[in-house]
């Protein structure tokens, strides 16, 4: 099918349609199939991929509690333990053991621990993708929190728009470490909702409006299209994947807030670890990568782009009008300034010629006598 399409579009081998098909075909050929299920109906609805370095066992415990409280329990959880050193492994094991063995919840029997060695931030997610059994996949970090209807909202969206990327709103909250007080951290700000209520692909080209835990991807994104988190990216790997998947699969979105992304105030945030300049450089790299691709934009984009372009043209025209008016005003100001200078010069000349006149000099004694008499009459004024 793909070969046939490629052949049929080869009349315009440098055209966008052929290039897009070629890129998709190359990706699909290279895609590593995800594990098969004996019966696709046996797949859980959702695979939750949680990467952890074992640094924050207590926040992981809280995430697990939130997952245990889900109103939709049709999910599996893969805890991706990434280069966890021995001194952290014990605390992590304790948390996992408690959940796996003790917490009698829908999580029982659905949690798998996967040890991941080496690679960057994205390596554990890609390892998780290749072991996930769910029909949709979502990444949640070990310090994130989810509301009890988080999975249920994804499920509702999947029923409405099968095969699309599923997107809900993520709130955020600052958190600080409290090493001396259990459980070692506490909220430090009110909850904010800085991200767009509805998914908008053009808005996402400007900045990422969807943290990882707000987007669930159909497994076909990885299985058939061969998408993965880019392990070369120090940051923004989630943004990169989301935009690519959204352009290919479309997005079903809800304004419901279903999760809380916790922003560490002091240390441990990916922003601080990566450094602001690294973020900016990666942002430029992503833009360059996007520029090199053909983009499949969703219905409605024509009008949206037309509106943005019309706004930009109107703004440019207005800017030009303002610039013209400013130039004219500067000319007029210059003319008036010159005129004023000339007038001042003329007035100075008149005063000087008057003061130098014979009549002015001859009447000086009279003026002095008049001044003296005025002072004697009424005092100095």
């Amino acid at each position: 099918m793909t070969d046939d399409l490629l052949a049929r579009t080869s009349f315009a081998a440098d055209g966008p349609m052929h290039r897009l098909l070629r890129r998709l075909a190359e990706r699909a050929t290279a895609a590593v199939p995800l594990p098969a299920a004996p019966d696709p109906a046996d797949r859980p609805f959702l695979s939750v991929l949680t990467r952890t370095q074992g640094r924050r066992p207590e926040t992981l415990r809280e995430l697990l509690l939130c997952l245990a409280a889900q109103t939709c329990d049709d999910f599996e959880l893969l805890v991706l333990c990434h280069d966890v050193p021995a001194d952290r492994a014990a605390a992590l094991d304790e948390v996992l053991a408690e959940v796996l063995a003790e917490l009698d919840s829908p999580l029982r029997g659905k949690v798998r621990r996967v040890d991941v060695a080496g690679g960057g931030r994205s390596r554990p997610l890609n390892v998780g993708i290749e072991q996930a059994r769910g029909r949709y996949l979502v990444a949640v970090d070990d310090d994130d929190l989810v509301l009890a209807h988080w999975a249920a909202e994804f499920r509702r969206l999947a029923d409405e728009a099968p095969g699309a990327v599923l997107r809900a709103v993520v709130a955020e909250q600052d958190v600080v470490e409290t090493p001396d007080v259990a459980p070692g951290h506490t909220a430090a700000s009110a909850i904010r909702t800085p991200y767009a209520e509805r998914f908008d692909i053009l808005g996402h080209l400007v900045s990422n409006q969807t943290p990882n835990l707000g987007a669930a991807f159909p497994r076909e994104c990885f299985d058939l299209l061969g998408l993965r988190y880019d392990e070369m990216l120090p940051v923004f790997e989630d943004w990169d994947l989301l935009v690519e998947a959204a352009l290919l699969c479309g997005v079903a979105s809800t304004p419901e807030v279903t999760a809380v992304y916790r922003r560490w105030q002091h240390q441990g945030s990916s922003l601080l670890e990566a450094g602001e300049e690294s973020w900016r450089a990666t942002e430029r790299d992503l833009a360059a990568r996007m520029d090199a691709r053909e983009l499949l934009l969703p219905p409605g984009t024509f009008s949206a782009l037309r509106w943005y372009k019309a706004e930009q043209l109107e703004y440019a025209a207005e800017h030009e009008r303002m610039a013209g008016a400013r130039d004219a005003a500067e000319v007029e100001l210059s003319r008036v300034t010159d005129l004023l200078a000339q007038t001042q010069q003329q007035m100075a000349d008149v005063i000087r010629s008057y003061e130098e006149s014979t009549s002015w000099r001859l009447t000086a004694p009279v003026r002095r006598a008049t001044d003296t008499a005025r002072r004697l009459r009424g005092g100095a004024s």
Binding site: C66, L103, D104, S105, V169, A187, A188
Partner: protein, 315 residues
Amino acid sequence: MTAPVSVRVAVVLHRTDRAVLERLLRSLAVAVARARAEGSVSDVTVHLGDSTPNSPPGSAVDSAVIMEKSGAQRPLGTGFLHDHREAAAGLDVRYDAFGENLWHSGGTNRLLDGLTEDAALLLNPDLLLAPDAVDRLVRALGGDRVGIADARQLPFEHPKPHDPVTGDVPWASMAACAVRRETWEEVGPLDAEWFPMHGNDVDFSWRARLAGWRVVHVPGARVVHDKRLTSAGSVAPSEVEEEHGARAALLLAVKYSRPDVAERHFATLESGTPAQRRGAAAVRSLLSHTALPPLLDPDHLVAEFVGGDFAAHRF
């Protein structure tokens, strides 16, 4: 209070879905087993009180039928208690349909009537308890003059301040807290007339503190409270909650000797949302028909009114 202690758990239901109640009971069974294993808890009885009007009468848990939010009636005994015999075996669960809406305060008072256990554990039905939550809450009651121990709620931590060392907190949420029997006997019951739903926790905590009891927050005792957020990021109140919130703000100011605060709140709430106006009107009516009880805290030792809050919040 010497460990292990006996505990009576009080859960007031109101149009509670069976799945929600099962979630609570499952986690409670695990948390009780953990507390027993740790030696902090001995006997535990769970008292479910159904405040749903017109709910089928009954007092036997095996034959209990609860009315859900949708109006559907579901037998409780064929749910968690039937399917999870092993977990449920650790819990002595009792059920009582009140036949009328006693609200949270009236229902809790009914369930804690004649409290003989060493401690009471007050829980909302829409919770999931961490496995160590009961152990930590009950142990906290062993602290010097600690009368009430307040759990940490997730995913939305309450912004009221607490002392990081002692845990002392201005008030405890009745959604998830433990109360010593002596405190309940001395300070209880909840003020069901003035604070049937909201404000009962602030009122009870302040009365306990005036009586010399300490109220402490236990950040390690975690519970998930199934709440939703508005698009602005605040917890979404129902109309009834908004009305009762307005009512509580006014009556707490009246009861705790702050007529100036009450007048300010009246001015704001009487020009507020329809639910707030209803709450303010209900208070006007109550005050015009009821003789004021003795006002509390005339020297303003415990009661705090900061904006619309009852403490200077951390954020």
